[in-house]
Every structure is written in C-alpha cells, then in structure tokens.
C-alpha cells in the first residue's frame, strides 16, 4: 500500500462523467496520442510546466530565476510569476493521500447521487496505483473514464473494483486507429467484450472526428461489436470541437491534427437504434 500516482487535476462538480454529481480525478500519462486530444498535459507520465500566456505581462521574472538549459519542471519559476500564470501539472500522491482527498467531499457527492470518476490521461496506465486507491474507497461510487488500452488481466482487475465504466471505442478500423491514435485497438476491442460480458454498468463513448470516424461503417461496426450487452447503458457521441487545441501552447507543444478541423461532422443516432442501443450527443 505505498504506490504513488501522478495526478494532474481533481475537478469538482463533474456532470458528464457518470451518474449524479461527481468529482473527477485526472491521472497523468497516456499510452495513446489521439490527434484530437484536448488534455495535452495529461499525455506524459512526468510532471510538466504549464504556462498560460494570455495575460502575461512579460516581466521576465521567470527567466531570471531559471538555471536550466531546458525545462525540468523544477517549479522555481512558478512562485516568482506575479500573476501565477505558471504551474506544474502533475503531483505525485500516495494512494492514501488521494483517497483521503476524495473522502473529504465524498459524503456530498453521495448525497447528490454521485461519486468519483477516474479519468486522464489514462488511469489504466497507473493500474496498480489505481487499484490501491479503489480499494481504499469501499463506500464511494467509483467510475472510470478510459481508453481501454491495457491487457485483459489488468482491465479485469480494475473493473472488478468499479461501479461504472465509461470507455471509448474511438475508431473501429485498426489501421485508422493506428494512424490517428498511434496505437492498435486490438486490446481495446477485447476489453470492450469483457465489459459486454460483465455486470458493471458501462457507457461506450465515441469522439466524433470530422472525416475520420463520422461515417456509417464505423458507427455500425462499433454498434455490432457491443450490441446485446446487458450492462450497456448507452453510446455517447462527443462531437469534435475546434477548441481541442486550446492548451497545447501552454505545454509548449504545437497542435497539428491530421484531419480537417473545419469539416462538418456527420452524426446519426438512427444506426444505434437499429441495434437497440440508446445514444446521446454530449
């Protein structure tokens, strides 16, 4: 019980991350590199400096204090910024520290029909730590937002501690999945089958990316794959929004998607109806 995990945010009043009002814990580090990722600070599994430059007054205090050739996320510049525009994304926490932090308000969330959701990044990338945390929260409703990218054994272990799962099937076609996320979807699809065979209520999410996966074939293949699952609540479609790139400059990276962000998105819930699957657009 002494695992440490890297957390980059804990958000209050999450209303789209599972039943009731929830707090959402963001795990830092992700095995995928989705073209449309809106949480660039969640990708790397090390602490990173984030700078929001919109209201920077260019006083130079941050550069004066810096002694490194390239950023090591040492944090020396954070507190010298007079406007506190810099922060280190990523805090190492023990499982107990995180569980205690969740418990601080867990009564409130329970009262509002909710609980905690683990998101990221990819929480399964820190599966051992996550499992420890989950075991420390027996009285809390626990959900996970995941890409499902892990081996089946790990996946089974983690979901056995969960009350609710929100999992992405981003693109059904493996080649396209490789192209746009940098990884194969084989494990993901197998893990989706594990959810389908189990009792844990789950939602399948599809980020709808213009010209990439917003076609009938993709929707139909995905629906077929999960149709008939007794614990499947619904499919949620998350239309791509151009603001996905908003935070890239703050972590010193460029946002360079391989698809046309101006293209219109095509969505139809009709296909899912054919498979008796409820769908909604978020």
């Amino acid at each position: 019980m002494n695992q440490k995990g890297l957390i980059f945010d804990i958000k209050e009043f999450a209303v789209f991350d599972g039943p009731g009002i929830r707090q959402t814990v963001f795990f830092k580090g992700c095995p995928l590199r989705c073209n449309w990722c809106h949480n660039p600070e969640g990708l790397q599994n090390v602490p990173e400096l984030m700078v929001s430059s919109a209201s920077c007054i260019h006083c130079g205090k941050c550069t004066d204090v810096c002694v490194h050739e390239s950023c090591t996320a040492c944090g020396d510049c954070v507190n010298v910024c007079p406007l506190r525009l810099r922060r280190i994304a990523g805090t190492w926490m023990t499982s107990k520290e995180l569980a205690d932090s969740i418990h601080e308000n867990s009564d409130y969330y329970e009262h509002c029909g909710g609980g905690v959701t683990f998101s990221g990044g990819e929480p399964l990338m820190q599966a051992e730590f996550l499992t420890e945390v989950l075991q420390l929260l027996p009285d809390v409703h626990k959900a996970m937002e995941t890409s499902g990218f892990t081996d089946s054994r790990t996946f089974k272990t983690v979901i056995s501690h969960l009350d609710y799962v929100l999992m992405d099937i981003k693109i059904f076609d493996n080649d396209l999945h490789m192209k746009y996320t940098g990884a194969s979807n084989e494990m993901i699809l197998q893990n989706a089958k594990i959810l389908c065979a189990g009792d844990t209520p789950f939602v399948i999410r599809i980020p709808v990316i213009p010209g990439v996966n917003d076609n009938e074939r993709n929707f139909r293949q995905t629906a077929e794959w999960i149709a008939g699952a007794k614990a499947l609540e619904k499919i949620e479609l998350l239309p791509y929004h151009k603001t996905a790139g908003a935070k890239y400059s703050s972590v010193g990276r460029a946002y360079e998607p391989l698809f046309d962000i101006d293209k219109e998105i095509s969505i139809s819930g009709r296909i899912f109806e054919e498979y008796n699957i409820r769908s909604s657009v978020l």
Partner: protein, 691 residues
C-alpha cells in the same frame, strides 16, 4: 408560446412601439415651485402630484390586449424644490430619493375591497375623526379618497376608449375594476396592473410584487373550476400580464436598467409545514421561462422538503441566462426573522424587497438598505492603527471587532432624523394606515433598519493571511506588511504574489478562513443586537452589498489579501474576485458554514455556471441537485448565473477578475482566462449560437 404572445413581445419588447405615445419630458420642478410658494404640506403635495400625473395620462389601448394601462407621462414631478430638498437634507437623513421604496405593500388591501368600498370605509373613518375634532386625520383621509377618484377617472377614460376602439374585453373588465373587487383572474390581473402603475406614478420605486402566487391563486382556481381557463390559456394570459411589467420599466428610477425591484416571490412553507407552492407558482415559472424577460424577477422560496421538480423548473429558468430564480431558504430565513423579533405568522409570510432583503408584505416599513458596514475597512483600520501593538492573533481579532463596532456606532448614529416622503396612496396598502389615518412613511408594524455588509471575503482572506504569515509562521513582519499596503505593494512583488495567490481564500472549503468569515458575520450581528433605531425598530445585519462593493472599494487602500488599491470587492456574499476556487461545491461549502440565521437582512451567494452544464436534461438535474445541496447545507439565499457571452467578453478584457470562470469546452472544463485568445474568441463565438 402562442402567436398572440409572440406578437405582443415583438410590439412592446422588440420594437417598443408603445414609446411613440409618450409625452415629452417636462420640467420636474414646476409643480414643486407652486407647492413651495403656497406652502403646501408634504402629504398634500404627494397626493396632488399623483393626481396631476394621473390626470395627464391619456388612454392608449393596443389592439387585442386584455390587460391595459401604459405610461405616457415620462416625468414624475418632484415634491420639493432644489432649495427645499437641500434644507431638508440639512436636518434629516434622506434615504436615496426620499420616497418610500424597497418595501412590499399588501395589494389585497385594495384588491379585496375595490376602490368604491375603500372610499366608503375611508369616509366613515373621516367622519369619526371629524367628530373627534381631528381635522388633520380627516384631511389626510380626504387626500386618499381624492387619489382613488383620480385613478377611477383615468380608468373610466380607458374604459370609454376601449369601447370606442372595439375592445369589449378591456371595457368589460374596467366596468368592474378598480371600482369593485375583481371577480375573476383577468380582473385581478388588471386590478394589480392599476395598483402597481399607480405606485410608480407616486414615485414610489422598487415596487416589489410580493407573494403573487398566494394572493392571486384564488382567482385562478375559481376560473379554472368554472372551466374558463385551462393550463395553456391561463399561461397565455399570465404571459400577457408579465409583458406589462416591461412596458414602462425604462422610466422607473434605479441604479441600472433593470434595477427596478419588480420581484415576485413564489412558494414557501406554511406554518403547518405544508408548502404553499401551487399551480399559479408553476404557471409563473413557465411564463417567465417562455417570455424570457427580465421582469418580473422570479424568487423561489425553498426548504429541505422542496421537491426536485421545483428545482428542475428553476434550473430551466436559470438556463435562460437572466440570473433568476433567486432561491430563498425558508429553513434559515424564517428562524432568522423570528430571532430578530418578527412574529411567527409574519416570518412565514416573508418575501423579498427589491433585490434580496427579506421583508414582510403590508407590515414592514423596514428600511432594509439604510447603510452598509465595510468589513474590508474594519480590517484595514485594525491593521493600520493597531496591528503593530497586537501580541497575538486574538488581540488583532479584538481590534477588528472594535473597528466593526465603531463603524456601526457611526452608521446607526448617522441615520437619525430619518424623513421619508409621504405616500397616501401606498399607505392604503399598509397595515392599519387607513384606519389610523397615518402615512406609512411614518412607520408601520415593523420599523427595522438593515445594514449590508460588503467585502466579507476580502476581510476574511486578509485576516487569514495575517493570522498565517504574521502570527503563526512569523514569516511576515507587521511593519513590512503595513508599509507594503501603504505603497500599494509597489516593490513588494513577492509578498503580493504570496498574499494574493498562496494564502487561504474563502470559497475553497478551508475551515481556517471560513471560520474567520463566520466570526466576522457573528461580530456584525452581535454588535447590532440591542441597538434600537429612533422608530423603535432594531438593526438587521446582512450579507448583501448592493452598490457598496464599488463604493467601499474606493474608500480603502490595498488590503492584506493582496488586493490592490482601487480593485473591486466581490458583490454580495461571494468569493473575492481574484481568489481561484476549486469549484462550486467548495464555494457552497465555504459559504454555508457561517450561521446565516444571524445575518438575515439578506444578500445572496452568487454562483456562475457555464451554460453548457445546462446542456442535457441529465446535467440540468445535477445543477438542480447542486442548488438543493446549498439549501440542505444551510445556505440562506442563492443566485445562479448561466454564464453568457457578455461575461466572457468582459473576462477577456479583465481576466484578473474571472479566475473562477470555468468553461466547458469539449468534454472538459477549463479556466476561461487560461485559454489562448483565439480559443477564447471561439467560445465567445459559440455563445452567439446558443439559443
């Protein structure tokens, strides 16, 4: 919404076509000059002025309308000449414009009897007073009778015009009201319109509507039982009624357009524990939702047993982005009022004055906004004058308490010799005023004064920073702090950053600072306890700020929470403008910790929620739960905003004030001010598309 309602909205709200009937502005001092020359007594002036306005009014009836009456007179004349008013101000405390404002009359006092019966009643009292040789009282009652006759005369001109224009519905309604008591819903609404219109013509302002769903419900019920209306047709009529509140509102006095106090209270606990929320309450919420106008402003009385459906309907209304309903928690407000000495049955009948001050209809001549304590100034005074002599934090706390006491000594002293201008018409709707031939401006059953308390978060955050850095960590020298404040942190960047961003802030559910805030509010209430005003009333402590958050900010230098000189204080009962809170739940938890029954003059916590949390039915339910949690945790008053484009544009210009503004972008939430400008622009653009 029916086509009829849509046409009315286009006519009155979009095109403002009724404005073309308005008269040119007149010299506001013309009447007063004559009054002054002839030495006319003040109550006579008030009556004559009102009659003058009513006599000048010319009927304008719009095609197809069922509820009539519109202002064509744009200038309500002054009662006093400039010199007279200046002289009055030398010897008296004149509150705002001087007229009775910001209270809630009991409309049923005229609605239930009709004007004819009321005139008969007044005549009887008049005879009694004449018999007793009390000519002054008899004369005063005569003024009231004259006013009622002038209103009747105006409405008779309207009735004839309606006949001429072929509007039998208006003609028929006016054949009954205001002379007789209304017999049905339409007559009741027309009667209310006449009473409210006349109040505005009396230059009474912030004329609140009160518990409309209670006093008009019997008419609705009767008509529905008779089959005269169904749900939809009653809703349509109410919508027409709601539009009337927006016809003349640009002519009403107020700090800002929309600051006119047309507040309507819905629902509320009865003494037996049942809820008075009824079909009319629901229809009012629906009407407001459909017409989506800033008037009337909807207030909702809730309590621990209020059903989720009511919160859901309220949330739908919040989604419109108008900033209401405002929620008032009966479980806190009623005991708070009883503690202050309000009779139980009156406390259960509370409503809000113009904005959020709790008041009893028809019984309270409370002046709920007579002054304001500046919490921030109290802390500032203690720092500048006494901090260096304080050995412990406890000592410092005592100094702040002393500074609060001194401010309240001064405030309660300065509001002596209050003179409120008489209003014989308004007095007809206040308890016993007719029988006693006593103008309400002289007092009624309750004559309490309310003080706002501005800058609570700035004060609590400042004290927390001092407690932590000066006394506990001893990392900050008293003199260094005082010098930095005097120099507005010039050359003290590091200290400024620490105080401004690293110190504990109210709104993060941190007991350390929240308990300080609770202590300040308690000190405020305790300091007022036992004080009485010259009218025999008490002083009430509140959490509101009104415009004082601006005025008080100008009075003080930099503060120990890292606030610069000249920077604003938060409005009402809210976190400081630059403290970055963890989220709405921490804010709610922080702001419900103090015992708010003690500061029941009123003043809401304001929460800004991004409009996307209102996106789905499911997420709306969660917003409703958030509101309910505020009530369950013992909050007193809550206002929510669905953040809209204007806020975002302002946030772009002044990012320093919008650190808590969260925008949901695409399946994720972020701080708006942290986004690059092009993305900010993008979100603003998206707001333009929100319907």
């Amino acid at each position: 919404m029916t086509d009829r309602t849509k046409q009315m909205l286009a006519f009155f709200i979009r095109d403002k076509k009724h404005h073309s009937f308005r008269k040119q502005p007149a010299d506001p001092y013309e009447l007063a000059a004559g009054f002054s020359m002839e030495n006319v007594p003040d109550a006579d002036r008030a009556a004559l002025r009102l009659q003058y306005v009513l006599d000048q009014e010319q009927p304008v009836i719009f095609a197809g309308e069922r509820i009539t009456l519109v202002r064509t007179v744009t200038t309500i004349p002054e009662l006093f000449t400039g010199a007279e008013l200046a002289a009055l101000k030398e010897t008296h405390w004149i509150h705002e414009l001087g007229d009775i404002s910001n209270i809630c009359v009991d409309y049923t006092k005229l609605m239930d009897s009709g004007f004819d019966a009321k005139c008969d009643e007044l005549t009887r009292y008049q005879d009694q007073y004449t018999g007793q040789g009390n000519e002054e009282a008899a004369h005063y009652l005569g003024l009231q009778i004259n006013i009622l006759h002038s209103v009747e005369a105006l409405m008779e001109r309207y009735r004839i015009t309606a006949l001429e224009q072929g509007n039998p519905i208006v003609a028929q309604t006016l054949a009954r009201v205001p002379a007789n008591a209304p017999q049905n819903l339409l007559e009741a609404l027309q009667m209310f319109r006449i009473l409210h219109f006349t109040l505005w013509c009396s230059r009474n302002y912030h004329n609140t509507i009160g518990r409309f769903d209670q006093y008009v419900y019997p008419y609705l019920k009767k008509d529905m039982d008779l089959g005269l209306y169904d749900y939809d047709s009653a809703l349509e009529l109410l919508e027409e009624f709601f539009i009337t509140f927006n016809r003349d509102s640009d002519l009403y006095p107020g700090m800002q357009q929309g600051d006119n106090g047309q507040s309507m209270m819905l629902g509320g606990l009865n003494e037996d524990g049942s809820d008075s929320y009824n079909l009319l309450s629901e229809l009012c919420m629906k009407a407001s939702l459909e017409v989506s106008l800033i008037d009337p402003k909807i207030n909702l009385r809730v309590h621990k047993n209020t059903p989720m459906d009511t919160y859901l309907l309220g949330t739908e209304l919040t989604k419109q982005g108008l900033g209401f309903p405002q929620y008032c928690n009966d479980d806190v407000v009623i005991p708070g009022l009883i503690n202050l000495g309000y009779e139980k049955k009156d406390a259960y009948n509370y409503t809000v004055a113009a904005c959020w001050e709790f008041i009893i209809p028809g019984l309270a001549m409370d002046v709920v906004n007579i002054g304001a304590l500046s919490f921030a100034k109290a802390v500032e005074d203690a720092v500048m004058e006494q901090l260096e002599q304080c050995a412990t934090y406890k000592d410092f706390e005592n100094c702040v308490r002393g500074a609060i006491n001194r401010q309240l000594d001064q405030l309660s002293e300065q509001v002596k010799n209050l003179y409120i201008f008489p209003s014989p018409f308004l007095s007809l709707m206040m308890d016993d005023c007719a029988m006693k031939a006593k103008d309400a401006s002289l007092g009624c059953k309750y004559n309490n004064y309310g003080f706002h308390g501005s800058g609570i978060a700035t004060a609590a955050d400042s004290m927390a920073a001092i407690k932590k850095y000066v006394f506990e960590e001893q990392s900050l020298d008293k003199k260094t702090l005082i010098d930095a404040l005097k120099n507005d942190f010039e050359g003290s960047d590091e200290l400024l950053g620490k105080l401004r961003y690293d110190a504990p802030k109210m709104g993060n559910n941190i007991d350390y600072v929240d308990e300080i805030a609770g202590g300040l509010l308690r000190d405020f209430a305790l300091s007022l306890k036992g004080r009485t005003n010259e009218r025999g009333g008490i002083f009430r402590a509140g959490t509101g700020s009104a415009m004082y958050f601006l005025w008080h900010a100008r009075d003080i230098p930099a503060t120990p929470d890292g606030r610069h000189k000249g920077e604003g204080l938060a409005a009402n009962y809210s976190p400081s403008l630059f403290s970055r809170c963890k989220g709405p739940i921490s804010i709610i938890k922080s702001f419900t910790k103090p015992d708010l029954r003690l500061t029941i003059n009123g003043g809401p916590l304001t929460l800004e929620l991004q409009d996307t949390v209102f996106r789905s039915k499911e997420s709306m339910q969660k917003v409703a739960m958030l509101v309910k949690s505020f009530v369950d945790l013992g909050g007193h008053e809550l206002q929510l905003n669905s953040v809209n484009r204007d806020t975002l544009i302002d946030a772009q210009k002044h990012p320093e004030y919008y650190h808590n503004l969260i925008v949901r972008v695409w399946g994720w939430s972020g701080y708006f001010v942290e986004l690059d400008k092009e993305y900010q622009d993008h979100i603003i653009q998206r707001m333009e598309l929100v319907v």
